[in-house]
């Protein structure tokens, strides 16, 4: 009696249902071995159930979402730093992080990346370490002791040979990097091993001291902006966690798994992967922040926030410099922030407020066009 997979497929293919329901339906149908009649009844009942579960038209989903995210805000901690996931790296959490997300900041206060490793690297601790050295920005202080020799007007760099070998660097590389970065001549004395001597071209105390300071800003190896890399074993894979974020550069490094590499910097995600990735990043970050605090918020609410932030193709802030500042209505903008400027501009431009939104209609004292205010029902009287 059971119908074939193809029949089930053809019966379900035109149903207006979300994918997860469709897939479960198909699987269940196959597993149980339903007859055609049963399948028809199942489909009918599922459609009924789905229709019941749908949001009703005219529902003010925006306000509900905003409230659903804002209300638990009062229950969140202010504790900025917390060790999430990796004990070694601090991450902003709680309310400050949530504010950061909806602010669409250029860079979060604690940028962080999760770098997955490619096959062949992910199980080998040494290879993972090598990749980590490629990523972490290495400065002089990691490798050497720098002494300022005022008598000879020199900077003497004593490199630690062991560390050099560990990080797979050699003295000539370093000399060249320093030469390029500082524009000075560098000599390597033959008597002492692993020593570099920097002599400024025009000797002056101030110049020398400045040089001693500047030398620490030169990146000898790795990627700028990545302060630290931590290796952790998740399951049977090694994963790198970085303090600081530079997605574009990290993606160029050999040995990483680009598809599983992630940054918590939303704007950067947008720059590298585009707006859809940024949207998903907002959703993930917000959900993670809320869940970490033990708060459950339906994902639909967060999706709506992410969608309104990204629906114009760029990541826009929730607030004066983003969505609220670009509203069509003069009144809505004036009632939010910077009241006077919006009014003056409107006058100058000869703007017309169409009174379509909520605030505008409240201001002029009319019913708002949302929910029951958006339904136009005219009763038919007898004889009409």
């Amino acid at each position: 009696m059971a119908i074939s997979e193809a029949t089930i497929e053809s019966m379900t293919k035109n149903l207006a249902l979300p994918n997860n329901i469709l897939n479960t339906l198909r699987e269940d149908g196959l597993k149980v071995g339903v007859s055609k009649k049963e399948m028809e009844e199942i489909i009918e009942r599922i459609m009924e159930s789905y229709e019941y579960a749908c949001v009703e038209p005219c529902e003010a989903v925006g306000v509900v979402s905003a409230q659903s995210i804002g209300e638990p805000g009062t229950q969140m901690t202010m504790r900025t730093f917390h060790y999430a996931g990796v004990a070694e790296i601090n991450v902003t959490l709680g309310l400050p992080r949530l504010i950061e997300i909806v602010d669409a900041r250029k860079s979060p206060s604690t940028p962080m990346m999760t770098v997955a490793l490619a096959e062949g690297y992910s199980t080998d601790r040494d290879k993972a370490r090598a990749v980590a050295w490629e990523i972490e920005a290495t400065h002089v202080e990691h490798l050497a002791d720098v002494t300022t020799d005022l008598a000879n007007m020199q900077l003497i760099i004593d490199l630690n040979g062991k560390v050099l070998a560990q990080r797979n660097m050699d003295i000539d590389d370093i000399a060249e990097k320093l030469r390029d970065g500082l524009g000075v001549s560098i000599t390597s004395p033959d008597v002492v091993e692993n020593q570099l001597i920097i002599t400024p071209d025009a000797p002056s105390y101030r110049g020398l001291l400045q040089l001693a300071k500047n030398i620490h800003t030169i990146i000898l190896k790795g990627i700028e902006g990545i302060k630290r890399v931590v290796i952790r074993k998740d399951g049977d894979e090694y994963t790198l966690y970085t303090e600081g974020s530079a997605l574009k550069d990290v993606l160029q490094i050999e040995g990483i798994a680009a598809t599983r590499t992630y940054t918590n910097n939303i704007v950067e995600t947008n720059d590298v992967f585009g707006i859809e990735a940024a949207r998903n990043s907002i959703i993930k970050e917000a959900i993670d922040t809320l869940n970490e605090q033990g708060l459950t918020v339906d994902i639909r609410h967060i999706m709506l926030v992410a969608d309104i932030m990204t629906c114009d193709g760029e990541v826009k802030q929730i607030g004066r410099h983003g969505i609220s500042g670009e509203k069509a209505s003069v009144f809505a903008r004036a009632a939010f922030e910077v009241t006077v400027n919006h009014l003056l501009d409107a006058g100058m431009r000869g703007n017309v407020d169409e009174l379509n939104g909520v605030t505008e209609n409240i201001i002029v004292g009319q019913p708002i066009k949302l929910g029951t205010g958006d339904v136009h029902l005219i009763a038919k009287r007898n004889g009409d």
């Binding site: 979300p18 804002g70 609410h301 004036a334 009241t339 379509n356």
Partner: protein, 887 residues
């Protein structure tokens, strides 16, 4: 019958903004204002003064000379002041500056070639069509036009393209061209010559806003109704800030004119011009940077036009968006578990004050007559009647009988509130939609609003003095809407997480826990007493008989009586010990709930079953049987639970924190051991034998290790105390059932308070290198950095007490900061999202029609009903239809 239908109220379609031209303004002005005085010696407004009767009236008894309305009727009318010389409107400074730089000084044309102008115009039109703001494009126009060195349209005397001048701007309102000051007159002349088509290119609309109108030649005088003067107790009049400012302007204006006519030297004229500019500037905005604010005689800065509009208490946020209402009441709330969750107890005094208008028709005329006849003093009475012509008549002790005779269909009676009326109930801060819900009234004695404690979570209310507001709905439509959409039972499920937000709290949970845990032997009388308030007419088969042959029941049976038939549910209870392998129904702790066909077979009912936020039974009942049965279930649960907790009683006193001596010793040993370990750590640290954790300095490492050690020590101490207190202790019952408090609270009370922290770290600040003078410098030991070894019961020593205060203060500051931050976050979120609405096609769009989501939440499902679209729902349906198991 009279079928007079009130006319459909008119709707404002749109509001247009623009600049007003001097010509238009002179036309609409009712009078020129020339005298700086307000009232004459008799207190009568002076003609052509600032309080001229043509500008409107505020004094009772006088009539407006323009519209002949009295105070309150007359909306007020604008007058004007003819400025002797033009002045700049401060608000437009930026625009004036940009425009000046973008036009040719001679021919006043925008210095862009025609092709570019056409291009920009096209882009502007496109932006307008899409509903985007043109700001950034207009900035580009200005930038590009300002870049041009010469004018493409006119030549200078030599026949070469005319060179543009460099215009410098100096705060607040000065424009300097090649070292010469540009007077407003000159600027205005230039602007006048900008052709309309050029004006359009930089985004202005020449019909409604010509650039020269940004420079004022005539100043509007707002109507007196906008700036009413108040009479002080002494009979002295005190004028509004705006009037004061206008007085200044008129005075200077007059002096300016006199001086100019007298042919005063240029220097004086310029000074006066600047002074006039200052006064007009501060009239518009008294907070312009670079301009000293105009002050009142007392030294307080004046509140002028901008200040009236701006900010939280300004016109926009304070008056226009924040409406005030009538028909509202406010008082303290207190609990009453005997009310339904849909009800609210209203004090008789409030019920007698507040009214609902009822239109008399033939069918209710007798009822209404009865109400009117009872007058306003006998409770279900009437306070006013409204005649057919709209006249309101107060019902008094003297006329109520007479009025009762008179009323007839067509009249309206404002009757007092009675049981069953629908009202809105609200507690601030209104953070979500469940902060305003509709309740049915129950008129009760005493002076507080009464509500079922189950509705505390959505309002976030408690009874420590909280006040709440009640609003009485005045139309049939609003009452219908409130009942269908806003009634408490329709809001049991929160759209935030799709679960119940209304449910048992505190005693409800401990009551149920006590009732359903263990074998309770409940006699027939006891059982009936427990179920008294629920509509249970028959008891089930008794669980057994005592030795005397008396039947007895157990708590699970009693609970089963209020569970709807047919309910099937299995889940671990809150008391679940989280064993490695769950034995499910065979759990020896009775911590796995099994409900079959509405019968509680196994398990204990606690927070996970009936609690707000977490109650799974609640969730299932509401989702499966609908809101009405859900509401009834909650009502029954609360009543049963209260009786359940009263049966055994549940109290908590200081003696409940007592732990036996051996436990005390054990706790003491644990803490001492921990201290020793910390001591060893410090020793290792000082000897530099400690190894740093990766990515941490040595100092950070030792701090982390110490914190860990002490945290563990506290937990161990708590464990010991918990073991000795046992499940008979009230505090343990409350913590384990989820009614109130946690084991941590109990630990702190009975065993050890633990580490006090500031910003997640041990307390470090205070004196140099030490927290308090009681300790040695550089001491890293536990007690020197805020570890409180004592319990609340045993009492803290002075240093511990001080550290505890530090930790406690941080908590308070934290809360204060958090509320303001999260409040602003919510305001921004609501403002950004408020216009979004699900359309009939399932998409989410904002006011301009921009699609934000093609299908709401990707699947179009309402979060409160999402259970109907989960894979389990499919399994259930397949099972129901085929009768076969899916998995």
């Amino acid at each position: 019958m009279d079928t007079k239908i009130p006319s459909i109220p008119k709707r404002i379609g749109a509001i247009k903004f623009g600049l007003i031209s001097p010509r238009e303004f002179r036309k609409m002005s009712v009078t020129a204002v020339i005298t700086a005085d307000t009232y004459d010696d008799d207190g009568y407004p002076i003609d052509m003064g600032l309080m001229d009767l043509r500008l409107g009236v505020i004094d009772p008894g006088l009539k407006c000379k323009t519209c002949s309305g009295r105070a309150g009727e007359c909306p007020g009318h604008f007058g004007h002041i003819e400025l002797v010389a033009p002045v700049i409107h401060v608000g437009f400074n930026k625009m004036i500056r940009k425009t000046l730089r973008a036009i040719c000084p001679k021919c006043s044309r925008l210095t862009l070639d025609p092709a570019k102008k056409a291009g920009y115009l096209e882009q502007l039109a496109k932006l307008k069509e899409m509903g985007h703001l043109p700001d950034s494009l207009i900035n580009d126009v200005f930038k590009e036009a300002a870049k041009a060195k010469t004018c493409p349209y006119c030549n200078d005397a030599d026949g070469k393209p005319r060179k543009k001048t460099v215009i410098k701007f100096e705060k607040p309102v000065e424009y300097i061209e090649d070292g010469e000051k540009l007077t407003p007159t000159e600027i205005r002349d230039r602007f006048e010559n900008i052709p309309d088509e050029d004006v359009r290119v930089f985004g202005m609309d020449p019909e409604n806003a010509r650039p020269e109108w940004m420079i004022l030649t005539v100043l509007p005088v707002p109507p007196v109704t906008v700036r009413p003067s108040i009479t002080l107790e002494s009979g002295q009049r005190s004028e509004d800030d705006l009037t004061h400012k206008l007085v200044d302007i008129i005075r200077i204006n007059q002096r300016f004119q006199e001086n100019r006519e007298a042919g005063a030297p240029q220097l004086i004229i310029e000074d006066l011009w600047e002074l006039l500019q200052y006064h007009v500037t501060t009239f518009f905005d008294n907070e312009v940077s670079g301009v000293p604010p105009a002050r009142h005689r007392s030294g307080r800065p004046l509140k002028t036009l901008s200040q009236r509009l701006k900010g939280k208490e300004g016109r926009f946020r304070g008056s226009l968006s924040g409406k005030r209402v009538n028909f509202s009441a406010r008082t303290v709330v207190s609990p009453d578990p005997n009310l339904s969750i849909n009800e609210v107890g209203v004090p008789l005094q409030i019920a007698k004050q507040m009214t609902i208008p009822v239109r008399i028709i033939e069918r209710n005329v007798d009822l209404m007559r009865m109400y009117v006849n009872r007058g306003r003093a006998n409770h279900p009475g009437a306070n006013y009647v409204i005649r057919e012509d709209g006249r309101r008549i107060k019902v008094t002790d003297l006329n109520h009988e007479e009025l009762a005779e008179k009323i007839e269909p067509g009249w309206t009676v404002e009757r007092q509130l009675i049981d069953g009326d629908i009202v809105l109930f609200n507690r601030q801060p209104s953070l979500h939609k469940m902060s305003i819900m509709a309740h049915q009234i129950k008129v009760l004695p005493n002076k507080t609003f009464r509500l079922n404690p189950c509705v505390c979570p959505p309002y976030n209310a408690d009874f420590d003095g909280d006040e709440m507001n009640m609003h009485v709905l005045q139309t049939e439509e609003s009452r219908a809407e409130a009942k269908i959409l806003m009634q408490v039972q329709e809001n049991i499920l929160s759209p935030r997480f799709g679960g119940p937000i209304i449910g048992g709290i505190h005693d409800h949970i401990s009551g149920m826990f006590l009732l359903t845990r263990n074998e309770n032997f409940i006699s027939k009388n006891g059982a009936l007493e427990l179920l008294r308030k629920a509509d249970i007419r028959e008891l089930p088969e008794p669980a057994g008989h005592t030795d005397d042959g008396e039947p007895y029941w157990n708590g699970k049976q009693i609970f089963s009586q209020i569970v709807p038939r047919g309910l099937e549910l299995e889940f671990p209870a809150k008391v679940c010990f989280q064993c490695e392998t769950c034995k499910k129904g065979d759990c020896e702790n009775d911590a796995y709930v099994v409900i079959k066909d509405g019968e509680l077979i196994k398990g204990t009912i606690d927070e996970n079953a009936i609690g707000a936020f977490k109650g799974l039974v609640l969730d299932k009942v509401v989702k499966e049987y609908g809101t009405t049965i859900g509401a009834k279930f909650i009502d029954d649960v609360t009543r049963l639970a209260i009786r359940g907790v009263m049966r055994t009683g549940l109290s908590f006193g200081i003696a409940d924190e007592d732990v036996p001596n051996e436990a005390k010793i054990e706790i003491f040993d644990t803490l001492v051991k921990a201290e020793e370990e910390v001591h060893d750590l410090i020793k290792a640290y000082e000897a530099k034998e400690l190894e740093a954790l990766p990515g941490r300095t040595l100092a950070e490492t030792i701090e982390m290790l110490i914190m860990q050690k002490l945290g563990k020590a506290r937990d161990n101490a708590g464990q010991i105390a918990g073991n000795h207190l046992g499940l008979e202790n009230s505090a343990v019952i409350m913590a384990k059932s989820g009614a109130r408090g946690s084991m941590l609270n109990l630990t702190q009370m009975a065993a050890c308070v633990g580490q006090q922290a500031v910003r997640g770290e041990r307390i470090r600040r205070g004196y140099s290198q030490r927290t308090l003078p009681h300790f040695k410098k550089g001491d890293l030991a536990a007690d020197a950095h805020g570890f409180v070894k004592a319990s609340y019961k045993s009492g803290l020593n002075p240093t511990e007490y001080f550290f505890h205060a530090i930790g406690g203060r941080e908590g308070l500051v934290d809360t204060a900061v958090r509320t303001s931050q999260s409040g602003y976050l919510q305001r921004r979120l609501v403002n950004a999202l408020q216009d979004l609405e699900v359309q009939y096609d399932g998409s989410v769009r904002e006011t301009r029609g921009v699609v934000v989501q093609f299908k709401y939440g990707e699947d179009g499902i309402d979060s409160t009903k999402s259970d109907y679209s989960k894979p389990e729902a499919v399994h259930r349906i397949v099972r129901a239809v085929t009768g076969k198991e899916v998995e």
